[in-house]
Structure formats: structure tokens, C-alpha cells
């Protein structure tokens, strides 16, 4: 229940933030990797750092993460197949052999079928996610955005202390 509330809160805040639809969409595209790939993978620390450092919507990133967590769980069998086909492809064997025998690179866990499959899928899906999210946010703001902004619920959320902290990372 709490997660659901947080999701709604994050969605509302993000959709009405000062960021442009492009910034929100870029945040969502980056954040989606946190949901699509196993969370405790080293590349997610890099993605998180990018979300903080780049001038994209941090809220969008969190929204993307939350939206894509269930998608990640659902698509695990597909990721497994993709990862397996990439790792067992004879033409790619020299690449993986070098990758897994080079200092630090093995810690990426890219020799795991789920990690590699989900990461590669994210690379492919990131651009479509960006454009879909940008279109969605722009459409939302142009249609029902203003009505939501005037609602009591939105005002209650934006008045909370959490929102003040969140504003620090607002684009």
C-alpha cells in the first residue's frame, strides 16, 4: 500500500515538476534500467550517479524505476534467453573471455544471463521509452495537468517536507 502511495506521489510530483517533458522522459529512460535489471548490479550504481549528476528529472528516474520493476520480473525468462544467446554465441566468445578475465570487469556480472539480457534489452528500449515518456508527459500537461495542480491532494503533497528535499534534485 505504502509503495503504491509513494508511486502515486512520485508520479504526481514528477508530472508537475518544473522539468521539461524531455528531462522527465530522460529521467524515466535512465531510471527504467533500475527496474529492468537486477537492482544490486554494479552498473546500477553508475546509472544512479548519472541520474543525480545529469540535468534530468530525478523524480522521473524514480518513476521509471518503479514502473519497470514489475516489467523486469515479468520479462526475466525473455532476458534469460537473450543473455544466454549472447553469451553462447561462438562469435562473441573472445569478447566474453576477455571481459571476464580483465580486472574489475567481471564484477559487472555481465556473464550472467539475466544481467546481460536485461541490460541489453534496456539499451534497445531506452530510446523508445524516452520518446513515449516525452509524448505522454507533454500530453498530460496539456490536458488534465492544470486540473490536478488545482486539486487538494496535489497541494497536500507539495506542501509536505519530503517535497522540499525532492526540490533539491528538481531540474
Amino acid at each position: 500500500m505504502l509503495t503504491l502511495l509513494k508511486l502515486i506521489q512520485s508520479m504526481i510530483k514528477t508530472l508537475h515538476s518544473a522539468g521539461t517533458p524531455g528531462q522527465v522522459a530522460a529521467g524515466m529512460a535512465l531510471g527504467s534500467v533500475l527496474g529492468l535489471t537486477p537492482l544490486l548490479s554494479p552498473h546500477n550504481l553508475v546509472i544512479f550517479s548519472l541520474l543525480v549528476l545529469l540535468n534530468v528529472s530525478f523524480g522521473g528516474g524514480m518513476l521509471g524505476w518503479m514502473l519497470f520493476v514489475p516489467v523486469g520480473f515479468l520479462l526475466d525468462p525473455v532476458f534469460d534467453r537473450i543473455g544466454s544467446s549472447l553469451l553462447t554465441a561462438p562469435s562473441l566468445r573472445p569478447l566474453w573471455t576477455d571481459w571476464t578475465n580483465t580486472p574489475l570487469l567481471p564484477y559487472t556480472d555481465f556473464n550472467n544471463t539475466i544481467v546481460l539480457g536485461s541490460f541489453v534489452s534496456w539499451l534497445v528500449l531506452a530510446i523508445p521509452i524516452f520518446f513515449a515518456a516525452r509524448y505522454g508527459v507533454a500530453k498530460y500537461r496539456a490536458t488534465i495537468g492544470e486540473r490536478v495542480r488545482q486539486s487538494k491532494v496535489y497541494k497536500a503533497i507539495t506542501a509536505s517536507q519530503v517535497y522540499n528535499v525532492y526540490k533539491m534534485f528538481r531540474p
Binding site: 543525480v52 520480473f73 566474453w96 567481471p106 556480472d109 533539491m168
Partner: protein
């Protein structure tokens, strides 16, 4: 408008976050590593592994483990090994590649076979080790260890046999069905041969040509006649080939039935054994007594050796091909983690040199300081290039009466793997064990024990030998047990008079089809005594069993055997008859061909002459 890419003000909070993360890792690294070590090693070995404390020493690239306990997967209340302190010196360069290369392992305060405060969890789950554990237990069950039966002879009564329980009858019915099917198949084959038209046309041609003078046919007529003969001979040859194919198929079918008939004789032997088991006749064959008394305890030793050898096969595979292993346990699917070994690089796991010190205290002849070494234990033997070697022996000279020598070599450098282990214990207190079927426990006292186990080519070749010997055996009777019968008392009298015990169990064959035998000095002594007491009565009972089984199966088996013989004869006769008919007509045609060609070799093409 200038596009702002970086959010510089976020660097501070990010650094703070990363520092916090680092502190958390620092605080929780040791407990997490300890738990992970316990989980991973339990999973790998298929038995509970407990680590009391784990200290990470990053400056020395070392790990200290304390109070290590590895449970015995076959006796859950006992530890296989218990050690007070273990220090692992790791190779930092290999760690950077996420590989564990232990340059030196030292283990102090090692003890074997200590009792556990809390019984270990039995191996369970879908991991490889629990699967091997279950497979090895199943493997051990296949050995047909006879039960020692010491039923008093006066309880043998009339034998009541249900014919449906007899294998011979079931096999005979099945063979009858097979005979019928072979007979139908042959009949169908003869019909499909369809050599009648070929024979008829060949005979007609031969007769027609016999009545013709080649001189009157003219050149063209002769040429046409020769072509007709050659064409017909070709058809005859084809028909012969069809008959030969049928003959081959008939031979296979007949052979199959012959095997069935042999199977009936074997089934009858099984039925004799089954019927005999219903009578519960006392065992007095020496090999059976040996197997019954010491079979289980011997198989238990081989079972444990087979378990560790199977784990070595899995974890130390030969070659450098990519190897998939199950991924880590997590909320998300585990997937598979694929290892890509690289020539001249570190293997994923390597124990270069391990030194294990242990001492045996007290006043026993084996007391003293011992040392064991482990070299080259690795997940990729092809990269290490040398077999793994494990040895254990006394460090300083001690009593000549007692010693412990253990050695093992795991050679997985190529696909022709060879694992061998040997252990020789002399002058040590051997564990006591129960004698199955007798209310008696054997305490071998101080004696010698040796175990040799060798497995080649992933279990294709198996050899094992377990022997114990002692001349100070004591026999502990279970006085609280039931009243002993006459035969049991005879056996007890025999064994109680023996101070000497020599048992030898041998294993050979392959993992898939192992052969096992066990013998001891007790076998003959017991067998001779029992035979002297009840041999005649047992022989009579066995004769009765044979007669009973024969009377039940004879009227079912004999007709089947007759039918099989009839099918065999009929198939043979018909094929020979067909071959003979074709042979005759072929001969006639060849004669005519020779006449037409004026003695030229049949089949030789005559030159075409333009007229």
C-alpha cells in the same frame, strides 16, 4: 539558450551517499561474507558448513576463519572436519578478476569425526550436491546385499506359490506374443517378396528359348533374345536380394526369440530364488554370509568415496570450454552465470598450497603431530596444468605400531579423468558396527584399515577395495534382545570363539554397472558349521522348491519353446525353398544365355552391327 547538462550542486549529496554506502559495506562486510561463505560452501559440498567468525584482513589480502565445522553428509550428528583457525592468503590480482586464488592456506587445530551440538540439516534442494547425495544413496541401494537368514529349520512348511508371482510365466506369455508377432512379420515379408511373377516369366523365357534355334533368330533376333535374358536375370537377381534381405530380417527375429528362450531359463533361476526366499531357508553359502554380514558397512565406505569423487567431477571439469553454473540466489530469476576460462590466466578457484596441522593426543600409539598438504585444488585443472594432490601423514617419527597415511590424486587435466584416493590406518581404534541379522555388535579394537578408491573417465572405470583387520576383536551380544534360536546360537558360538577378523570388500565395473564382493574369515567358519547342522534339511527344501517351480512353469514354457522352434524351422525352410527356386531358374537362363552367345561370357555386350 544554453543547455545545462550537469547538476553540479548534486555532487555533494552524491559523494555523501557513496561515503555512506562505503561505511555500510565496511560495517557489514564481515557478517555478510561469513554468511555467504557458509551458504556457498554448504551449497557446494552438499552438507552444512558453519563458520564461527570471519575476519577480513585487506592489507594482507587474507581472510581468517575461526571455528569451522563441516558436517558429515552421511552422519548428520558428526562433523567430518572441525578446525579452530584457518587463514587464507589470497592473490590480490586474481581478486580483481573476481577469482579466488588461495596462495597459502593454513589450518590449525583440526579434528575429525567430532560430535555436533546440533545435528546438521540433511542435504536437500535442487543443487548439484544434494542431487549427487540422492544419486549416490540410490546407487548404493542397487547392490544386492543378501539378508542373513537364520530361520530354524523346523519352521519350513509346505510351499504355497502363486503362479502369477513367477517371472517365468510372465516372460513365457510375453515371449508367446513376440513369437506370434515375428511369425506374422515373416508371413508378411514372404507375401511382399512377390517372386512368383518373376519365376513364371523367367521359366517361360527359358522354355521358349530352349525350343528356339539361335541360328534361325537372325542377328537382331539373337540380340533381342540376349537382352530379354539379361533383363530377366537382373529381375531374378533383384528377387534374390529381396530374399536375402528377408533372410537377414528373419535371422534377427529368430535370434530375438532365441534370446527370449534363454531369458526363460534365467527367469526360472530367479523363480527358484524367489520361491526359496519364501521358505526363509537359513543362509549357509560362504559368499552370501560375507555379503550379509559386512556388505552394508563396506558399501557405506564406497558410497562416501563415490560422493566426493562425483563432486570433484562436477567442480573440476577438464578442458577450457565455457561453463554455465546457476546464477546467484535473488528475488529476480537467477539465470545462469557462464565462466569463460582463458589460457595462461587464473582459474576461478585455485588452492595453490594448503597446510593442515593436526595432532592426536592421549597415550594411544597413534598420538603425535600430523600434517596434511593440499596442492593444486582448482576449478579449472587445465589452467593449473598439474593434478591436485592431497596427502596426510605423521610429521615426526612416532610409534612403529601405528600410523595414518592418506593420499589422493585428482587428475582432470584431460577428458580421461582419473581420481584416486587411498587411506591406510594402522594400530588405531577401529569403529564398532552392528552385524545385520544378528543381535551382535563387532568391536574390532585396535587394528588396521585400508581404503582404496579409484575412478577413471567420469565413472566408466571403477575400482575400490576396503579392508579391515584386527586380532583383538570382541563381540558384544545384545542381551536385551529376543530369545535366540538354535541356528543363531550356533553362529554366536562360532564367532565368539574368534579373536581374529579379516574383511575385504572389493568394488569394480563402472558407476552405471558396478560389481561388488565381500569376503571375511567368518564366512567359511559360519558356513561350515551351519551346513553341518542343517545342510541336509536345507538341501531337501531346495529340491522341493525346484520341483514346485518346475511343475508350475513347465506347461506354460514348453508350448512356447515348441512354437519358437516351429517359427525358426518354418522361416528357414521357406527361405531356402525360395532361394532354391530362384537358383534353378537362374541356372536355366544362364544356360540359354550361353547358348545364345555361343559360349561367350554371359553379360558381355555384343558389338552392335549396322545392317
Amino acid at each position: 539558450m544554453k543547455v545545462k547538462i550537469f547538476r553540479w550542486k548534486a555532487i555533494g549529496p552524491l559523494l555523501l551517499f557513496l561515503t555512506l554506502l562505503g561505511v555500510l559495506v565496511w560495517i557489514f562486510a564481515e557478517p555478510v561474507a561469513r554468511q555467504t561463505t557458509e551458504e556457498a560452501s554448504s551449497e557446494l559440498l552438499g552438507t552444512e558448513v558453519n563458520v564461527g567468525k570471519l575476519d577480513l584482513l585487506p592489507r594482507q589480502a587474507s581472510v581468517d576463519l575461526r571455528a569451522l565445522q563441516i558436517a558429515d553428509p552421511f552422519v548428520l550428528t558428526r562433523n567430518l572436519i572441525e578446525a579452530d583457525e584457518i587463514r587464507l592468503k589470497l592473490n590480490p590480482a586474481a581478486l580483481a578478476e573476481k577469482k579466488i586464488v588461495i596462495e597459502h592456506l593454513s589450518l590449525h587445530g583440526m579434528r575429525f569425526g567430532t560430535a555436533r551440538k546440533k545435528p546438521a540439516r540433511p542435504p536437500s534442494g535442487k543443487g548439484f550436491a544434494p542431487q549427487v547425495y540422492r544419486a549416490v544413496n540410490q546407487w548404493a541401494k542397487q547392490f544386492d546385499v543378501p539378508l542373513l537368514s537364520l530361520t530354524p529349520i523346523d519352521t519350513i512348511r509346505q510351499l504355497a506359490l502363486d503362479p502369477t508371482q513367477l517371472t517365468t510365466i510372465r516372460e513365457a506369455q510375453s515371449l508367446l506374443a513376440r513369437t506370434d508377432s515375428v511369425r506374422k512379420g515373416l508371413e508378411q515379408g514372404f507375401q511382399q517378396l512377390n517372386i512368383g511373377p518373376t519365376l513364371d516369366s523367367a521359366r517361360a523365357l527359358a522354355q521358349r528359348l530352349a525350343a528356339t534355334d539361335p541360328k534361325q533368330l537372325g542377328l537382331d533376333g539373337t540380340r533381342q533374345a540376349i537382352q530379354s535374358v539379361q533383363q530377366t536375370l537382373k529381375e531374378v537377381e533383384d528377387a534374390k536380394k529381396r530374399i536375402e534381405a528377408l533372410e537377414r530380417s528373419a535371422r534377427t527375429g529368430v535370434q530375438f526369440l532365441g534370446q527370449g528362450v534363454q531369458g526363460l531359463d534365467q527367469a526360472r533361476l530367479k523363480d527358484f530364488a524367489f520361491a526359496k526366499s519364501l521358505l526363509k531357508l537359513p543362509t549357509f553359502s560362504a559368499p552370501e554370509i560375507g555379503g550379509a554380514l559386512f556388505g552394508k558397512v563396506s558399501i557405506d565406505r564406497f558410497k562416501q568415496a563415490a560422493y566426493w569423487a562425483e563432486l570433484a567431477q562436477q567442480y573440476m571439469p577438464p578442458g577450457l570450454l565455457p561453463r554455465p553454473t546457476p546464477g546467484p540466489n535473488r528475488l529476480r530469476a537467477a539465470g545462469q552465470t557462464i565462466e569463460f576460462p582463458k589460457a595462461k590466466d587464473f582459474p576461478r578457484f585455485l588452492l595453490e598450497q594448503g597446510q593442515l596441522d593436526f595432532s592426536i593426543g592421549g597415550t594411544s600409539p597413534i598420538q603425535g603431530a600430523y600434517t596434511a598438504t593440499v596442492q593444486g585444488l582448482t576449478s579449472t585443472p587445465a589452467l593449473y596444468g598439474r593434478p591436485a594432490v592431497i596427502t596426510a601423514s605423521r610429521r615426526a617419527a612416532g610409534s612403529a605400531l601405528a600410523s595414518i597415511d592418506v593420499g589422493a590424486v585428482i587428475n582432470h587435466l584431460t577428458a580421461r579423468t582419473h581420481d584416486s584416493a587411498s587411506a591406510r590406518l594402522q594400530g588405531i581404534k577401529l569403529p564398532s558396527f552392528d552385524l545385520p541379522g544378528l543381535p551382535l555388535r563387532v568391536d574390532p579394537g585396535n587394528g588396521s584399515s585400508s581404503l582404496m578408491f579409484s575412478m577413471r573417465n567420469a565413472g566408466a572405470e571403477l575400482r575400490g577395495r576396503w579392508a579391515i583387520g584386527s586380532n583383538k576383536v570382541s563381540w558384544i551380544a545384545d542381551s536385551a534382545g529376543r530369545q535366540l534360536n538354535d541356528i543363531e546360537r550356533v553362529v554366536l558360538r562360532v564367532v565368539s570363539g574368534l579373536n581374529d577378523l579379516q574383511v575385504v570388500a572389493e568394488l569394480s565395473g563402472s558407476i552405471a554397472s558396478p560389481r561388488f564382493s565381500v569376503s571375511s574369515n567368518l564366512d567359511k567358519a559360519i558356513a561350515q558349521r551351519i551346513q553341518a547342522v542343517i545342510g541336509e534339511e536345507v538341501a531337501k527344501a531346495e529340491k522341493m522348491v525346484r520341483a514346485k517351480v518346475d511343475s508350475l512353469v513347465a506347461d506354460k514354457v514348453e508350448p512356447v519353446k515348441r512354437q519358437v522352434a516351429a517359427v525358426q524351422t518354418e522361416a528357414n525352410q521357406r527361405i531356402q525353398a525360395e532361394k532354391q527356386r530362384l537358383g534353378e531358374v537362374q541356372k536355366q537362363l544362364n544356360v540359354e544365355l550361353q547358348r545364345l552367345t555361343g559360349g561367350l561370357v554371359p553379360g558381355l555386350e555384343l558389338p552392335k552391327i549396322k545392317l
